[in-house]
Amino acid sequence: MTGSVVRIEPVPRTRGYPTAWWGMVVLIATEAMVFLALLSAYFFVRAGAPAWPPPGVSPPELHRSVLFTVVLLGSSIPIFWMEHALGRGRMRQVAICLAVAFVMGAAFLANTAYDFLNMEFGLGDNAYASLFWVIIGLHAIHVALGLLMSATVQAKVWTGRVTPEHHVTPEVFALYWHFVDGVWIFVFVSLILSPHLGR
């Protein structure tokens, strides 16, 4: 094979995602498995229970939950907007969108905390209560982590560390935030909505 010539041509950078973004994708896959395992546990225990929720326990409150579900899922909209604005270099919009999403997430978390402090049953009263609060609680921890990440990213935006050309952390944060919102749909439908169905 003499005379062989190898020609290396770089692919344009605009295609594909940075490594950190892919890292977050894989991390999200494993996080999703955690929630899948917990929700499987929920339905496994539920399938073996004579009544669900157990006698004397009322099904989860619905109206306020729906309202704050809308708030949490809605917080993805400013994040989508932010991603759009990043590509166009509108850093002021980026900062505003991040702040709006932060407030919405914080409101959701406050509502969960309020519910937790006013729950009518104890964590260890029965398996229903344990499953309900541990899954909701784990999701709340994810929201709290998201808020911490958001705060860091916002600080980076304010101090000019994120520029129109260089913006990996906001992109990665956006992905995480969409995951936290998306997984809530499954948690909400399983834990809060489904006990009301067929009653």
């Binding site: 062989s4 190898v6 950078r13 295609r15 496994f44 260890g124 009263d125 398996a127 229903y128 913006h167």
Partner: protein
């Protein structure tokens, strides 16, 4: 700009200066070099291997004779629990991750892993989790519920005290390390391949680490949840596994084995990956059926997620479900068989050189054959019901996990340690070590099959004489010391090589993959200029006469010596490995260590139920992570 350029002497000097870690203690704690981290992984895992092995030897002394009094029943429980836990969580998994850490970037032709700081974090977590688990011996309360810690035995009413908490928290703790390691491998393997290294040109070991990582990502959460719910029950009084409160004990077993069975393949697949690297080199020909072997790895991984109930055949699950899982367990022999025949065909068509590494690979074949056959036997329901919880099962899983994983790891040591340390191991000592281990292994574990048929149950701390078990047990105990002696010879050989070993040339075995194109040990930056790959066997293939590059942009710059001088590495497109972007390699930093200490404090806080320590841990960990994000360079988009 040509990328096959060699650095000039001044450039080499400058490269060394820029890539060098700080000397002494600071460099020890702040390094992010994948090679130093990989070696540490391997050494640390071997420390745990020898400790866990010593526990097994003490158990064998206890079982050598009927009604011996070496270990109390309580101590015996603690010993077999920690033996199994340490071997699975602290030796087998991390030692494979260690080899992966060291060699995956080298085999890919990259200058480091995709996330060097995360890599350091993963090691520190592993180390602290190991210390956490073994500190239970220091405080006198080691875990004692078996390595699988079945509830209700491990629930608070039946296992008071912090023994089980060490296990439950320790398993979650070390799982963090395995998971972030897997994230790192997946992204590195897809994004950091040398120009030309398409997916179907990757070395099989890289394939096996990719499959390992995907399995970790999808399986480890299940054991985290299993142990997490157990700890919530124990520490916070929840009712997940409390039947009186509507919980389920079977739930624990489902969650545990949903991880537990894939875990067998998580360990086994990289071990076969090592064998697939060693056999072709010492048969002087490419691996037969490369695509079949790569496909088999992926297939085994998929099927292994559908067989977990075969660990629960005796729990009273409906017969239809059992039949399904039995059938799935039998099917998994097909892709395993494909690999087996590929290895035989490689040797058949090649010219075999019986080096120590090759002996360990061939020894693996024989042991794996036996472990595989007994695996088929226990996949069959009626047979499983006869032998479950007997010594037959002990024999089976030691053939698989000790024989079929530890032998390849020892082979890998003889194969790759010269690359890591720059010193050759002694072949004569190696062969003595292999034969001692091989004979010791088979004489120790084969008779356990028979003991199982004779009715000897697992996990008993002693037995009466007159049951027909005495002679075999004595034989097993003696042989287990022979096996241990064989392993110690390799330890001696490795230590000796550092002082008296011959210097290792770059490619002592005339092997084909990219790690052998570097010096032994490789320079800090691995490759001054990126290698260009035109086939599956870069060092065996005819090198291209001329390499042309398109432009003079940043990506092209990163491919050459200039990129190494900048401390950058090129990022490639996921599938066809065309260079696409540039990634900066972070400077040494203490943040991973600090973050790991924070996580450690959180676990200690949970263990001793001291909220203050836990909160301090969270604050320390979170601050380190925020600082880490803060310093993350934004210059890549």
């Amino acid at each position: 700009m040509a990328i096959t350029e060699r650095p000039t002497d001044t450039e080499t000097h400058e490269l060394e200066e820029r890539w060098e870690d700080a000397p002494g203690i600071p460099g020890f704690f702040n390094t992010v070099d994948h090679k130093r981290i990989g070696i540490r992984y391997i050494y640390t895992a071997f420390v745990f291997f020898f400790i866990a092995g010593a526990l097994a030897l003490v158990m064998r002394v206890q079982l050598a004779q009927p009604n011996a009094g070496v270990l109390s029943p309580e101590s015996y429980n603690e010993f077999f629990t920690m033996h199994g836990t340490a071997m699975i969580f602290l030796f087998n998994t991390p030692v494979l991750a260690g080899f992966g850490n060291y060699f995956v970037p080298l085999m890919l032709g990259s200058r480091d892993m995709a996330f060097p700081r995360l890599n350091a974090f993963s090691y520190w977590i592993f180390l602290l989790a190991g210390v956490f688990l073994f500190s239970s011996f220091v405080v006198g309360h080691p875990p004692n519920g078996g390595w699988f810690a079945y509830t209700p035995l491990t629930s608070k009413p039946y296992s008071d005290g912090i023994n089980i908490d060490f296990w439950g928290l320790g398993v979650i703790f070390v799982g963090i390390s395995t998971t972030v390691g897997a994230v790192n491998f997946i992204v590195s393997i897809f994004k950091l391949r040398a120009p030309g290294m398409t997916l179907n040109r990757m070395p099989i070991f890289v394939w096996s680490m990719l499959v390992f990582s995907f399995m970790v990502i999808f399986a480890v959460p299940a054991v985290t949840v299993a142990a997490g719910l157990l700890e919530l029950d124990r520490l916070f009084g929840t009712a997940f596994y409390d039947v009186a409160g509507g919980g389920s004990v079977l739930l624990y077993q489902h969650l545990f084995w949903f991880w537990g069975h894939p875990e067998v393949y998580i360990l086994f697949i990289p071990a076969t990956g090592m064998v697939s690297m060693i056999i072709p080199v010492f048969s002087r020909r490419p691996l037969a059926g490369y695509l079949w072997v790569a496909t088999a790895l992926v297939t085994v991984a998929f099927i292994s997620f559908g067989v977990w109930v075969h660990h629960m055949f005796a729990t009273g699950i409906p017969a239809l479900a059992l039949s399904f899982f039995s059938a799935a367990s039998l099917i998994i022999t097909l892709p395993s068989g494909v690999q087996f025949f590929a290895w035989i065909a490689t040797m058949w068509k090649g010219v075999v050189r019986f080096s120590t590494a090759m002996l360990f690979a061939i020894g693996f074949l024989l042991i794996f054959l036996l472990g595989g056959i007994t695996g088929v036997m226990v996949a069959v329901l009626p047979f499983d019901w006869q032998v479950t919880d007997s010594y037959f099962v002990v024999a089976h899983f030691h053939y698989v996990l000790n024989g079929a994983v530890v032998f390849p790891i020892f082979g890998a040591l003889y194969f790759w340690l010269p690359k890591m340390t720059g010193r050759m191991l002694d072949e004569r000592l190696g062969k003595i070590s292999f034969w001692t281990m091989f004979v010791g292994f088979n004489v120790a574990f084969f008779p356990m099959h028979i003991l199982g048929f004779l009715g000897m149950p697992r996990r008993i701390y002693t037995y009466d004489s007159g049951l027909g078990w005495d002679g075999l047990n004595l034989l097993i105990s003696i042989a287990s010391f022979v096996f241990a002696a064989g392993a110690l010879i390799t330890l001696y050989n490795a230590v000796r090589s550092q002082f008296r070993g011959a210097p290792a040339p770059p490619n002592p075995w005339d092997a084909d993959s990219l790690e052998w194109s570097t010096t032994s040990p490789p320079p800090e930056y691995n490759f001054a200029a990126m290698p260009v790959v035109t086939g599956r066997h870069p060092l065996w293939d005819e090198p291209p006469e001329r390499i042309e590059t398109a432009g003079d942009d940043a990506t092209t710059r990163a491919l050459g010596v200039a990129g190494a001088l900048d401390k950058t590495m090129p990022v490639s497109e996921g599938l066809d490995a065309r260079p696409q972007d540039v990634l900066g390699i972070p400077s040494p930093t203490y943040l991973p260590f600090v973050a790991a200490v924070g996580v450690g404090l959180l676990f200690v806080g949970l263990l001793v139920e001291a909220a203050v320590i836990g909160v301090v841990g969270v604050v320390v960990g979170a601050s380190a992570v925020v600082r880490w994000l803060w310093r993350t360079s934004e210059n890549l988009s």
